[in-house]
Symmetry: C2
Subunit: 195 residues, 2 copies
DNA sequence: CTAGAATGAACGGTGGTTCAGTCATCGGGA
DNA sequence: TCCCGATGACTGAACCACCGTTCATTCTAG
């Protein structure tokens, strides 16, 4: 493996190209041009075009989960952690429009994305959320009758849908403004006391 | 337009083929074979391959919204309507595995699905949910400080994520079993009184 | 017999992938 | 210091498999 940060350059270029044209309508040569290299060079670092998408997703998702885990660890209790998580989730997407487009729209390519590669990374995000909910339950902050696995998927789905709508819309409003409402409704749904 | 129910046959065949191979890896000739016709015949009824996907989605979505609207109208109040809606949403997917696969996984083809065609149909489903929430607010069942647009997307996202996870998993459990928990958590999140 | 529905072989554009050739870098010998 | 050859990263034109689409022809119902 020659140039050690060329893969990163290629991935960064791919994010921009995919955001602009969509995965399917992006040529490998487009990514190469965007990265300022020849198309053949890409095959020194990635096995196939799909491999670029899969690697891109894995990397971004792993980064995000690590970032989120670190950030919420500073919060005092489970409820605060959830609020922080929602805020961060929206913040990271709002900060990087190209990434948001790719993650919310282009990455959902049928089989490629959902089965196989993504499974592990997504479930580590789910595990993080579930662990916070369990922690909250131990601390008596979250109702004992809440199925945490289901609640985890609900929260993720809720955030994901808000994000997707925001990306598909003209991004007229600030996604971050919805964070408080989302966290409040979810927490009211699972917490013991009114929040 | 010659044979009046040939389009339907083609769409039904397409659902099965897409569920099996995914949209991108399905050939038009595969759909033709599944429908028991020649590939050229498809072009008497559909303009392009994309057109099949778009029409399929439009039709299924329109049917679903009409069905849902009809079914929940019989319920006594907004809270009961939401419970019914969640149950129905899961039920319809659980009843038709091929459709579930296509709707939850294959239909999310980047630009094709999200922008353009789907927008109108999806927003009519959103409108239905929002109208129920607004009705509940009028009746004093739902808190006045709930932003119904946001709550709508949250509920849809929650249901959608549960459904996707169920499709991607081995379908080991019954999706319908999650319906009560989903409705309960959501309603606790938005309703005035404990539910 | 005829209209027009259906056929499916063949066309043509596309674009992922390859690989023979080019170029940049660097170590060591004169 | 300068030159030379070797190494291997990089290039991009060309290849070719693939498949959506077309349309000349066949079939069939009335």
């Amino acid at each position: 493996m020659p140039d050690p940060d060329k893969p990163q350059q290629i991935i960064d270029a791919a994010v921009r190209v995919f955001a602009r044209n969509g995965y399917y309508h992006s040529r490998v040569s487009d990514i190469a041009r965007e990265a300022g290299i020849a198309s053949g060079t890409i095959y020194l670092y990635f096995k196939t075009k799909d491999d670029i998408l899969v690697t891109l997703f894995r990397e971004k998702m792993a980064d995000w989960v690590a970032h989120a885990r670190r950030e919420i660890s500073g919060e005092p209790d489970a409820l605060a952690k959830i609020r922080r998580l929602v805020a961060l989730h929206f913040q990271v997407l709002e900060t990087d429009p190209d990434l948001a487009e790719v993650v919310q729209v282009e990455l959902r390519q049928g089989h490629k994305f959902f089965r196989g590669a993504s499974a592990h990374e997504v479930s580590s995000y789910f595990a993080l959320i579930t662990s916070v909910l369990d922690e909250g339950m131990q601390a008596g902050l979250i109702r004992r009758d809440v199925p945490t696995k289901i609640a985890t998927k609900m929260l993720f789905g809720a955030m994901d849908q808000l994000a997707t709508s925001w990306v598909l819309g003209k991004r007229t409003y600030r996604l971050t403004d919805a964070a408080d409402a989302v966290a409040a409704i979810f927490l009211k749904g699972v917490a013991v006391h009114a929040v």
